[in-house]
């Protein structure tokens, strides 16, 4: 296991160890030794037919794992759910990605998958919801929508002959403005109903992309009339580019309070990711609350003491949910 790259002192080591042991004991009941490594054989019952899924292969009539992970069985299907690996897209996943190339009629997007994903111009809706017509003008203006290095949010549309396609047919998708992008291992983010979170008390947007890219940024109001929004955004970027004067730019900065909230939330996610705990909005908020309740400075949230506290808190939390 990754040694936490923290300098823990002796008592902290013991406390972390104890918290982790508790987590282990809580988990072992639920998941009894289904972990496998590469080339472990998976016991199966052959009588009622069998479907071999991801991460398995057949050697000499035996089902063998090809990746490290946890064996899952769904009816006749047997597969190995891998843990640390690149993102495996499923249709409908909400993802955060970075545009790396503007190509004819499409953008190529890096999403921590083994290939770049493709977002077609025609998979973007016009602000009023009509399907985009592929006019020459549209193509020329592609850079005004997204350009290289932009962080965007989209939905996985499906696999096509030329790769993985994305779509952004709703107002909530699109370019992400001010904030920071965090990357965590994708197995820590679970697929849920809700991946967009507007944390109203903090005035920030939190998007947990299924691909392990997490966006924490200033809240942007999603208006039905995106035409206006779009224009103002365009105006925004232009102003930024020309950077009229440093003073003007300064006025434009995220407010102190919001920035503190963004950084605190981001550090909560970083702490959870170092510990390898699954990342959901509830746990993130609890971690944020923990840090503000005991008055930990934002940058100290990445330190050893806070990590130990988070681990202890998680152990308590999981044993509580278990009891219920």
């Amino acid at each position: 296991m990754k040694d936490l790259q923290l300098s823990l002192n002796q008592t902290q080591k013991v406390r972390l160890q104890r918290a982790l042991e508790k987590l282990e004991s809580l988990a072992s009941r639920a998941n009894s030794n289904a972990s496998v490594t590469v080339a472990d054989s998976i016991p199966v019952n052959y009588e009622d037919g069998l479907l071999k899924g991801h991460g398995t292969s057949e050697v000499n009539g035996e089902v063998v794992a090809t990746v490290c992970g946890v064996v899952e069985r769904v009816n006749k299907l047997v597969y190995v759910r891998s843990l640390r690996a690149r993102y495996k897209p499923e249709v409908g996943d909400i993802i955060v990605g970075r545009v790396i190339e503007v190509a004819p009629k499409r953008w190529r997007v890096e999403i921590n998958y083994s290939h770049d994903a493709v977002l077609m111009l025609s998979s973007m809706n016009l602000p009023d919801g009509i399907q985009r017509r592929r006019t020459a003008l549209d193509e020329l203006n592609m850079r005004s929508i997204f350009e290289e290095n932009d962080v965007i949010c989209a939905e996985v549309r499906g696999f096509q002959h030329d790769g993985l396609h994305l779509q952004a047919r709703s107002q909530k998708y699109g370019k992400l403005g001010r904030g920071q992008l965090l990357t965590v291992p994708s197995y820590l983010v679970k697929r849920r109903k809700q991946h967009f979170h507007h944390l109203e008390n903090y005035g920030i947007d939190l998007i947990l992309g299924c691909n392990g890219f997490i966006w924490v940024g200033e809240h942007v109001e999603v208006t039905d009339d995106m035409l206006v929004d779009h224009k103002s955004q365009q105006h925004d970027t232009k102003a930024d580019k020309n950077s009229i004067s440093p003073e003007d730019q300064e006025k434009n900065y995220t407010t102190q309070q919001t920035r503190e909230n963004i950084c605190r939330t981001a550090n909560a996610i970083r702490a959870l990711s170092t510990l390898g705990f699954s990342i959901t909005v509830e746990v993130i908020m609890e971690t944020v609350d923990l840090s503000s309740s005991i008055n930990v400075a934002i940058h100290e949230m990445l330190g050893a003491e806070f990590c130990v506290l988070v681990a202890e808190k998680e152990a308590v939390r999981r044993s509580m949910t278990k009891k219920k």
Binding site: N149, D240, Q256, R259, R264, N267, A297
Partner: protein, 287 residues
Amino acid sequence: MVGLSIGEKHFIQGGIAQDIRSDGRKRLTPRPINVKTGVISQANGSARVRMGATDVIASVKAELGRPTALQPDKGKVFINVDCSPTAAPMFEGRGGEELSAELSVALRHCLLGGKSGSGAGIELSSLVVVEGKICWDLYIDGLVVSSDGNLLDALGAAIKAALSNTGIPRVNVAAGASGDEQPEVDVSDEEFLQFDTSKVPVIVTLTKVGKHYIVDATSEEESQMSSAVSISVNRQGHICGLTKRGGAGLDPSIILDMVSVAKTVSEQLINTLDSQIAAAEAGEDES
């Protein structure tokens, strides 16, 4: 190297202006530093330093050599840095050479002083065994294993830690050699002399972003820099070397300002480093 969107750039710059950086640090707060000594058993001294996701190893090897004719009373120190492709695929093949060369030169500037060897951060005269005939050559090698900004400071800290971990064998010189003959020496396997590292400087890099400058920049922050000044300062508060990187011009008064800030920052860094080194050495003895 790091591609950032306009919004992210804006956010980083704004954070530095408002004194809350992306990970919550203030402009002059460094990341926690983690030191491990004695990681390479074949070297005379070695250390591994981690700051966030930046991870470097430094090793010191001592070999007997001859002093140069120009400086018969001084030993020689060679510094060289490599970037391992494990840190980033772009260092593959010859990809890391440019950065390696830049770092090596900057370290030489900061630690070794001028050609004459005067003002060097590392005491060269202590390396002489027989004046004009035998001296120790110190080969200092740095390796970047993982990179997330501020490599120079990390390497400087690793070298300092490696030097304090270094034991140089005691040398007994057989008497009687005279004139131009090379005296015979007997290198002890058991007795080691500790290297005096109290004067070895640390390097503090101040990265200028917008109107402000920050210490211990991450690679994302480095991508937004206009220029960076690396200043090596020793315990006495003397400046041992200085290099400026990045294209944008700097106001002379700002440089002076940066130097005095670097001096205060270096005091904290030296203290943290010293306690970390002491802890690492103690830990090593235990195990």
